[in-house]
Protein backbone atom coordinates (compact mmCIF):
# COMPACT_ATOMS: atom_id res chain seq x y z
CA UNK A 1 0.00 0.00 0.00
CA UNK A 2 1.15 3.46 -0.83
CA UNK A 3 2.35 5.25 2.32
CA UNK A 4 3.06 8.59 0.71
CA UNK A 5 1.87 11.48 2.80
CA UNK A 6 -0.41 12.80 0.06
CA UNK A 7 -2.53 9.64 0.26
CA UNK A 8 -2.53 9.89 4.05
CA UNK A 9 -3.64 13.50 3.83
CA UNK A 10 -6.34 12.69 1.30
CA UNK A 11 -7.66 10.04 3.68
CA UNK A 12 -7.62 12.33 6.71
CA UNK A 13 -9.25 15.20 4.81
CA UNK A 14 -11.88 12.95 3.26
CA UNK A 15 -10.70 13.29 -0.31
CA UNK A 16 -10.44 9.57 -1.12
CA UNK A 17 -13.20 7.93 -3.11
CA UNK A 18 -15.29 5.40 -1.14
CA UNK A 19 -13.40 2.51 -2.79
CA UNK A 20 -10.01 4.04 -2.05
CA UNK A 21 -11.12 4.65 1.49
CA UNK A 22 -12.15 1.04 2.05
CA UNK A 23 -8.85 -0.18 0.62
CA UNK A 24 -6.90 2.29 2.77
CA UNK A 25 -8.64 1.23 5.98
CA UNK A 26 -8.05 -2.42 5.17
CA UNK A 27 -4.35 -1.70 4.72
CA UNK A 28 -4.35 0.26 7.95
CA UNK A 29 -5.28 -2.87 9.87
CA UNK A 30 -2.76 -5.11 8.17
CA UNK A 31 0.15 -2.94 7.02
CA UNK A 32 2.22 -1.44 9.87
CA UNK A 33 3.85 1.03 7.42
CA UNK A 34 0.49 2.58 6.63
CA UNK A 35 -0.38 2.86 10.33
CA UNK A 36 3.03 4.40 11.02
CA UNK A 37 2.58 6.92 8.22
CA UNK A 38 -0.85 7.91 9.49
CA UNK A 39 0.40 8.15 13.08
CA UNK A 40 3.27 10.35 11.95
CA UNK A 41 0.96 12.60 9.96
CA UNK A 42 -1.48 13.10 12.84
CA UNK A 43 1.21 13.53 15.45
CA UNK A 44 3.13 16.02 13.33
CA UNK A 45 0.05 18.10 12.68
CA UNK A 46 -0.61 18.21 16.39
CA UNK A 47 2.99 19.08 17.27
CA UNK A 48 3.15 21.69 14.51
CA UNK A 49 -0.08 23.20 15.83
CA UNK A 50 1.40 23.37 19.32
CA UNK A 51 4.61 24.99 18.13
CA UNK A 52 2.68 27.44 16.00
CA UNK A 53 0.55 28.27 18.99
CA UNK A 54 3.58 28.84 21.21
CA UNK A 55 5.17 30.98 18.54
CA UNK A 56 1.99 32.98 18.07
CA UNK A 57 1.63 33.34 21.80
CA UNK A 58 5.13 34.78 21.98
CA UNK A 59 4.25 37.22 19.20
CA UNK A 60 1.13 38.29 21.07
CA UNK A 61 3.05 38.65 24.32
CA UNK A 62 5.39 41.02 22.50
CA UNK A 63 2.37 43.24 21.78
CA UNK A 64 1.64 43.53 25.46
CA UNK A 65 1.94 47.08 26.63
CA UNK A 66 3.54 47.94 29.95
CA UNK A 67 1.01 47.40 32.68
CA UNK A 68 -1.00 50.37 33.62
CA UNK A 69 -1.68 50.58 37.31
CA UNK A 70 -5.39 50.82 36.68
CA UNK A 71 -7.93 49.22 34.44
CA UNK A 72 -10.07 51.27 32.06
CA UNK A 73 -12.97 51.71 34.53
CA UNK A 74 -10.52 52.61 37.26
CA UNK A 75 -8.81 55.10 34.96
CA UNK A 76 -12.18 56.74 34.33
CA UNK A 77 -12.81 56.84 38.06
CA UNK A 78 -9.37 58.34 38.64
CA UNK A 79 -9.97 60.97 35.97
CA UNK A 80 -13.30 61.86 37.56
CA UNK A 81 -11.65 62.09 40.99
CA UNK A 82 -8.94 64.36 39.66
CA UNK A 83 -11.56 66.62 38.09
CA UNK A 84 -13.40 66.86 41.40
CA UNK A 85 -10.15 67.54 43.26
CA UNK A 86 -9.18 70.22 40.77
CA UNK A 87 -12.60 71.77 41.20
CA UNK A 88 -12.31 71.74 44.96
CA UNK A 89 -8.74 73.01 44.71
CA UNK A 90 -9.85 75.88 42.57
CA UNK A 91 -12.68 76.66 44.96
CA UNK A 92 -10.50 76.74 48.05
CA UNK A 93 -7.34 78.08 46.51
CA UNK A 94 -8.78 80.56 44.04
CA UNK A 95 -6.93 83.89 44.25
CA UNK A 96 -9.32 85.80 46.46
CA UNK A 97 -6.51 87.00 48.71
CA UNK A 98 -3.56 87.02 46.48
CA UNK A 99 -1.38 89.56 44.66
CA UNK A 100 -3.10 88.38 41.47
CA UNK A 101 -6.38 89.52 42.94
CA UNK A 102 -4.77 92.87 43.87
CA UNK A 103 -3.53 93.27 40.30
CA UNK A 104 -7.04 92.56 39.05
CA UNK A 105 -8.42 95.25 41.36
CA UNK A 106 -5.76 97.62 40.09
CA UNK A 107 -6.88 96.87 36.55
CA UNK A 108 -10.45 97.60 37.52
CA UNK A 109 -9.42 100.91 39.03
CA UNK A 110 -7.45 101.90 35.92
CA UNK A 111 -10.37 100.94 33.67
CA UNK A 112 -12.78 102.94 35.78
CA UNK A 113 -10.76 106.08 36.45
CA UNK A 114 -7.99 106.43 33.90
CA UNK A 115 -9.76 105.93 30.59
CA UNK A 116 -11.10 109.44 30.39
CA UNK A 117 -9.48 112.48 31.95
CA UNK A 118 -11.33 115.62 33.09
CA UNK A 119 -11.14 118.45 30.59
CA UNK A 120 -11.80 121.24 33.08
CA UNK A 121 -8.66 122.84 34.41
CA UNK A 122 -8.74 124.76 37.60
CA UNK A 123 -5.87 126.44 39.35
CA UNK A 124 -4.46 127.94 36.20
CA UNK A 125 -5.38 130.79 33.97
CA UNK A 126 -6.88 129.95 30.67
CA UNK A 127 -4.71 131.16 27.84
CA UNK A 128 -1.44 130.28 29.56
CA UNK A 129 0.79 128.00 27.51
CA UNK A 130 0.88 125.27 30.12
CA UNK A 131 -2.88 125.13 30.67
CA UNK A 132 -3.52 125.13 26.97
CA UNK A 133 -0.97 122.37 26.45
CA UNK A 134 -2.52 120.35 29.28
CA UNK A 135 -5.98 120.73 27.74
CA UNK A 136 -4.64 119.67 24.37
CA UNK A 137 -2.85 116.68 25.89
CA UNK A 138 -5.95 115.62 27.83
CA UNK A 139 -7.94 115.91 24.61
CA UNK A 140 -5.42 113.63 22.93
CA UNK A 141 -5.73 111.12 25.79
CA UNK A 142 -9.50 111.13 25.57
CA UNK A 143 -9.34 110.59 21.83
CA UNK A 144 -7.01 107.64 22.32
CA UNK A 145 -3.86 109.31 20.97
CA UNK A 146 -1.74 108.23 23.90
CA UNK A 147 1.69 108.51 22.28
CA UNK A 148 1.07 112.10 21.20
CA UNK A 149 -0.37 112.94 24.62
CA UNK A 150 2.63 111.36 26.30
CA UNK A 151 5.04 113.47 24.25
CA UNK A 152 3.10 116.62 25.05
CA UNK A 153 2.95 115.90 28.82
CA UNK A 154 6.69 115.21 28.89
CA UNK A 155 7.25 118.44 27.04
CA UNK A 156 5.28 120.31 29.70
CA UNK A 157 7.29 118.57 32.40
CA UNK A 158 10.49 119.72 30.79
CA UNK A 159 9.32 123.20 31.28
CA UNK A 160 7.64 122.65 34.65
CA UNK A 161 9.15 119.48 36.22
CA UNK A 162 6.93 119.59 39.28
CA UNK A 163 3.62 120.39 37.60
CA UNK A 164 1.29 118.12 39.52
CA UNK A 165 -1.30 117.78 36.78
CA UNK A 166 1.32 117.03 34.17
CA UNK A 167 2.95 114.49 36.49
CA UNK A 168 -0.39 112.86 37.25
CA UNK A 169 -1.61 112.70 33.68
CA UNK A 170 1.74 111.77 32.21
CA UNK A 171 1.89 108.97 34.77
CA UNK A 172 -1.60 107.80 33.82
CA UNK A 173 -0.73 107.82 30.10
CA UNK A 174 2.47 105.88 30.80
CA UNK A 175 0.50 103.37 32.85
CA UNK A 176 -2.06 102.91 30.09
CA UNK A 177 0.71 102.44 27.56
CA UNK A 178 2.33 99.79 29.72
CA UNK A 179 5.37 101.95 30.35
CA UNK A 180 5.34 101.11 34.04
CA UNK A 181 8.87 102.26 34.83
CA UNK A 182 8.06 105.73 33.62
CA UNK A 183 4.69 105.71 35.34
CA UNK A 184 6.30 104.77 38.67
CA UNK A 185 8.88 107.53 38.31
CA UNK A 186 6.26 110.13 37.45
CA UNK A 187 3.86 109.12 40.24
CA UNK A 188 6.75 109.04 42.68
CA UNK A 189 7.72 112.55 41.72
CA UNK A 190 4.10 113.56 42.21
CA UNK A 191 4.01 111.93 45.63
CA UNK A 192 7.00 114.03 46.68
CA UNK A 193 4.96 117.14 46.31
CA UNK A 194 4.09 117.92 49.93
CA UNK A 195 2.46 121.23 49.20
CA UNK A 196 -0.67 119.81 47.62
CA UNK A 197 -4.04 119.62 49.33
CA UNK A 198 -4.80 116.42 47.49
CA UNK A 199 -2.08 114.11 46.23
CA UNK A 200 -2.84 110.62 44.83
CA UNK A 201 0.85 110.11 43.91
CA UNK A 202 1.57 107.30 46.37
CA UNK A 203 -1.65 105.44 45.58
CA UNK A 204 -1.03 105.69 41.85
CA UNK A 205 2.57 104.59 42.32
CA UNK A 206 1.31 101.49 44.11
CA UNK A 207 -1.02 100.77 41.18
CA UNK A 208 1.87 101.07 38.74
CA UNK A 209 3.97 98.75 40.90
CA UNK A 210 1.17 96.18 40.98
CA UNK A 211 0.86 96.40 37.22
CA UNK A 212 4.62 96.03 36.64
CA UNK A 213 4.73 92.96 38.88
CA UNK A 214 8.48 92.55 39.31
CA UNK A 215 9.54 90.33 42.25
CA UNK A 216 9.61 93.04 44.91
CA UNK A 217 6.94 95.26 43.38
CA UNK A 218 4.00 93.75 45.21
CA UNK A 219 5.74 94.10 48.56
CA UNK A 220 6.62 97.69 47.73
CA UNK A 221 3.05 98.38 46.57
CA UNK A 222 1.76 97.03 49.86
CA UNK A 223 4.04 99.36 51.81
CA UNK A 224 2.85 102.32 49.79
CA UNK A 225 -0.78 101.36 50.28
CA UNK A 226 -0.18 101.06 54.03
CA UNK A 227 1.29 104.55 53.93
CA UNK A 228 -1.69 105.89 51.98
CA UNK A 229 -4.01 104.48 54.62
CA UNK A 230 -1.90 105.60 57.58
CA UNK A 231 -1.43 109.10 56.25
CA UNK A 232 -5.02 109.30 55.06
CA UNK A 233 -3.89 110.23 51.59
CA UNK A 234 -5.86 110.30 48.36
CA UNK A 235 -7.06 106.83 47.43
CA UNK A 236 -7.32 105.62 51.03
CA UNK A 237 -10.66 103.84 50.50
CA UNK A 238 -9.37 101.99 47.46
CA UNK A 239 -6.08 101.28 49.21
CA UNK A 240 -7.97 99.56 52.01
CA UNK A 241 -9.75 97.32 49.52
CA UNK A 242 -6.51 96.50 47.80
CA UNK A 243 -4.72 95.69 51.05
CA UNK A 244 -7.45 93.19 51.93
CA UNK A 245 -6.90 91.40 48.66
CA UNK A 246 -3.19 90.75 49.34
Amino acid sequence: MNTDLETIENYVTGQLTPDERVRFEAALRTDPAVAEALAFYMLTKQVAGEQAREQRKAELDALRKPASMWSVPMRWAAAASITVLLGLGWYFLRPTNSPEMATRLADDYVAEHFMELPTTMDGGSSGSTTVDSLKTAVGLVNSGKLAEADALFLDILKRQPTNDRALKYAGIVSLRQGNYDQAITLFHRLSERTDLYSNPGLFYESLALLKRGLPMDKEQAKKLLDEVITRNLDGKAEAEKLIKSF
Binding site: D4, L5, E6, E9, V12, E25, L28, R29, A35, E36, A37, L38, A39, F40, Y41, M42, L43, T44, K45, Q46, V47, A48, G49, E50, Q51, A52, R53, Q55, R56, K57, E59, L60, D61, L63, R64, K65, A67, S68, W70, S71, V72
Partner: protein, 196 residues
Protein backbone atom coordinates in the same frame (compact mmCIF):
# COMPACT_ATOMS: atom_id res chain seq x y z
CA UNK B 1 -12.39 48.94 6.49
CA UNK B 2 -9.22 50.79 7.40
CA UNK B 3 -6.63 48.81 9.30
CA UNK B 4 -4.82 51.97 10.26
CA UNK B 5 -7.74 53.03 12.44
CA UNK B 6 -6.64 53.39 15.99
CA UNK B 7 -9.30 51.03 17.27
CA UNK B 8 -11.33 48.90 14.91
CA UNK B 9 -14.85 47.77 15.61
CA UNK B 10 -15.36 44.14 16.63
CA UNK B 11 -17.16 43.50 13.36
CA UNK B 12 -14.20 44.81 11.36
CA UNK B 13 -11.78 42.70 13.38
CA UNK B 14 -13.84 39.53 12.88
CA UNK B 15 -14.20 40.18 9.17
CA UNK B 16 -10.45 40.71 8.87
CA UNK B 17 -9.64 37.50 10.74
CA UNK B 18 -12.17 35.46 8.78
CA UNK B 19 -10.88 36.87 5.48
CA UNK B 20 -7.60 35.08 6.20
CA UNK B 21 -4.53 35.70 4.08
CA UNK B 22 -1.63 37.90 5.00
CA UNK B 23 -3.85 40.42 6.81
CA UNK B 24 -5.28 37.90 9.26
CA UNK B 25 -2.47 38.29 11.77
CA UNK B 26 -2.75 42.04 11.74
CA UNK B 27 -6.43 41.81 12.66
CA UNK B 28 -5.63 39.21 15.31
CA UNK B 29 -3.08 41.61 16.76
CA UNK B 30 -5.70 44.35 16.80
CA UNK B 31 -8.03 42.11 18.77
CA UNK B 32 -5.26 41.31 21.25
CA UNK B 33 -4.47 44.99 21.72
CA UNK B 34 -8.08 46.07 22.01
CA UNK B 35 -8.90 43.95 25.03
CA UNK B 36 -5.55 43.61 26.73
CA UNK B 37 -6.83 45.63 29.66
CA UNK B 38 -8.35 42.31 30.76
CA UNK B 39 -4.85 41.40 31.99
CA UNK B 40 -5.00 44.15 34.60
CA UNK B 41 -8.57 43.20 35.46
CA UNK B 42 -7.48 39.60 35.94
CA UNK B 43 -4.68 40.61 38.28
CA UNK B 44 -7.14 42.57 40.37
CA UNK B 45 -10.03 40.12 40.39
CA UNK B 46 -8.31 36.74 40.42
CA UNK B 47 -5.18 37.51 42.41
CA UNK B 48 -2.96 36.11 39.71
CA UNK B 49 0.37 37.68 38.82
CA UNK B 50 0.52 39.92 35.80
CA UNK B 51 2.62 37.40 33.86
CA UNK B 52 0.15 34.64 34.66
CA UNK B 53 -2.75 36.81 33.53
CA UNK B 54 -0.89 37.83 30.37
CA UNK B 55 -0.34 34.17 29.54
CA UNK B 56 -4.00 33.37 30.21
CA UNK B 57 -5.04 36.34 28.08
CA UNK B 58 -2.87 35.17 25.16
CA UNK B 59 -4.43 31.70 25.44
CA UNK B 60 -7.82 33.37 25.52
CA UNK B 61 -7.33 35.36 22.32
CA UNK B 62 -5.79 32.33 20.58
CA UNK B 63 -8.93 30.36 21.44
CA UNK B 64 -10.99 33.33 20.27
CA UNK B 65 -9.19 33.37 16.90
CA UNK B 66 -10.07 29.68 16.46
CA UNK B 67 -13.66 30.31 17.41
CA UNK B 68 -13.95 33.20 14.97
CA UNK B 69 -12.37 31.30 12.07
CA UNK B 70 -14.35 28.14 12.72
CA UNK B 71 -17.53 30.21 13.22
CA UNK B 72 -18.07 28.62 16.65
CA UNK B 73 -18.44 32.22 17.71
CA UNK B 74 -21.49 33.29 15.75
CA UNK B 75 -21.72 36.81 17.09
CA UNK B 76 -24.88 36.21 19.10
CA UNK B 77 -23.25 37.84 22.08
CA UNK B 78 -20.80 40.70 21.99
CA UNK B 79 -17.23 39.68 21.25
CA UNK B 80 -16.14 41.39 24.44
CA UNK B 81 -18.59 39.36 26.53
CA UNK B 82 -17.56 36.11 24.88
CA UNK B 83 -13.88 36.91 25.28
CA UNK B 84 -14.37 37.89 28.91
CA UNK B 85 -16.13 34.60 29.61
CA UNK B 86 -13.29 32.56 28.10
CA UNK B 87 -10.75 34.66 29.97
CA UNK B 88 -12.53 34.23 33.29
CA UNK B 89 -12.81 30.46 32.82
CA UNK B 90 -9.14 30.23 31.96
CA UNK B 91 -8.22 32.35 34.98
CA UNK B 92 -10.17 29.97 37.19
CA UNK B 93 -8.35 27.04 35.53
CA UNK B 94 -5.06 28.77 36.22
CA UNK B 95 -5.96 29.25 39.89
CA UNK B 96 -6.95 25.59 40.19
CA UNK B 97 -3.75 24.59 38.49
CA UNK B 98 -1.78 26.62 41.01
CA UNK B 99 -3.67 25.47 44.08
CA UNK B 100 -3.87 21.77 43.21
CA UNK B 101 -0.47 21.65 41.49
CA UNK B 102 -1.98 19.47 38.83
CA UNK B 103 -0.59 21.25 35.85
CA UNK B 104 0.59 17.98 34.33
CA UNK B 105 -3.03 16.96 33.85
CA UNK B 106 -3.64 20.06 31.76
CA UNK B 107 -0.48 19.54 29.77
CA UNK B 108 -1.50 16.06 28.68
CA UNK B 109 -1.16 15.48 24.98
CA UNK B 110 -4.41 15.10 23.18
CA UNK B 111 -5.08 14.60 19.51
CA UNK B 112 -7.76 16.42 17.68
CA UNK B 113 -11.02 15.03 16.42
CA UNK B 114 -9.46 13.63 13.26
CA UNK B 115 -8.48 10.50 15.20
CA UNK B 116 -12.11 9.83 15.95
CA UNK B 117 -12.91 9.32 12.29
CA UNK B 118 -10.78 6.17 12.18
CA UNK B 119 -12.42 2.77 12.43
CA UNK B 120 -12.09 1.38 15.96
CA UNK B 121 -9.44 -1.20 15.18
CA UNK B 122 -7.30 1.18 13.18
CA UNK B 123 -7.71 3.89 15.77
CA UNK B 124 -6.33 1.74 18.55
CA UNK B 125 -3.31 0.82 16.38
CA UNK B 126 -2.58 4.46 15.57
CA UNK B 127 -3.17 5.55 19.16
CA UNK B 128 -0.71 2.95 20.35
CA UNK B 129 1.91 4.15 17.87
CA UNK B 130 1.39 7.74 18.92
CA UNK B 131 1.64 6.85 22.59
CA UNK B 132 4.95 5.13 21.94
CA UNK B 133 6.42 7.97 19.95
CA UNK B 134 8.96 10.37 21.32
CA UNK B 135 7.30 13.75 21.23
CA UNK B 136 10.36 15.62 22.36
CA UNK B 137 12.36 14.28 19.45
CA UNK B 138 9.65 15.25 17.00
CA UNK B 139 9.70 18.77 18.42
CA UNK B 140 13.48 18.80 18.15
CA UNK B 141 13.53 17.59 14.54
CA UNK B 142 10.84 20.07 13.60
CA UNK B 143 12.86 22.88 15.14
CA UNK B 144 15.92 21.79 13.18
CA UNK B 145 14.16 21.36 9.88
CA UNK B 146 15.13 24.72 8.39
CA UNK B 147 13.21 27.96 8.55
CA UNK B 148 11.16 27.68 5.39
CA UNK B 149 10.07 24.07 5.91
CA UNK B 150 9.33 24.69 9.55
CA UNK B 151 7.27 27.82 8.82
CA UNK B 152 5.29 25.92 6.24
CA UNK B 153 4.58 23.00 8.54
CA UNK B 154 3.70 25.31 11.41
CA UNK B 155 1.26 27.25 9.20
CA UNK B 156 -0.33 23.95 8.20
CA UNK B 157 -0.49 22.89 11.84
CA UNK B 158 -2.14 26.20 12.69
CA UNK B 159 -4.85 25.50 10.15
CA UNK B 160 -3.81 27.70 7.27
CA UNK B 161 -4.89 26.42 3.85
CA UNK B 162 -2.43 25.83 1.03
CA UNK B 163 -3.90 28.90 -0.67
CA UNK B 164 -2.98 31.03 2.33
CA UNK B 165 0.43 29.40 2.65
CA UNK B 166 1.11 30.08 -1.03
CA UNK B 167 0.08 33.71 -0.56
CA UNK B 168 2.13 34.38 2.56
CA UNK B 169 5.21 32.40 1.51
CA UNK B 170 5.37 33.52 -2.09
CA UNK B 171 4.42 30.34 -3.97
CA UNK B 172 2.72 30.75 -7.31
CA UNK B 173 -0.17 28.39 -6.59
CA UNK B 174 -1.69 26.41 -3.74
CA UNK B 175 -0.67 23.19 -5.55
CA UNK B 176 3.00 24.23 -5.53
CA UNK B 177 2.71 25.13 -1.85
CA UNK B 178 1.13 21.74 -1.12
CA UNK B 179 3.88 19.84 -2.97
CA UNK B 180 6.54 21.80 -1.04
CA UNK B 181 4.77 21.23 2.24
CA UNK B 182 4.46 17.48 1.69
CA UNK B 183 8.13 17.37 0.70
CA UNK B 184 9.01 19.08 3.98
CA UNK B 185 6.85 16.58 5.87
CA UNK B 186 8.69 13.76 4.11
CA UNK B 187 11.98 15.27 5.14
CA UNK B 188 10.82 15.39 8.74
CA UNK B 189 9.51 11.83 8.54
CA UNK B 190 12.88 10.63 7.29
CA UNK B 191 14.58 12.14 10.30
CA UNK B 192 11.93 10.83 12.67
CA UNK B 193 11.36 7.38 11.12
CA UNK B 194 13.97 5.54 13.14
CA UNK B 195 12.26 6.35 16.41
CA UNK B 196 8.62 5.91 15.45
Amino acid sequence: MRLSSRQLSDADIMTGIRAGGSQRRLYENKLYEKYQYLITDGVRKHRLTEDECASVYSDTVLAMFDNIVSARFEGRSELKTYLYQIFTNKCVDEIRKKTTKRSSVHDAFSLDDSLLQLPDEARSIVQKLIAQSDLEKLHKHLNELGDKCRSMILSWGEGYSDDEIALTMGYNTAAVAKTSRLRCLDKLRERFRDIL
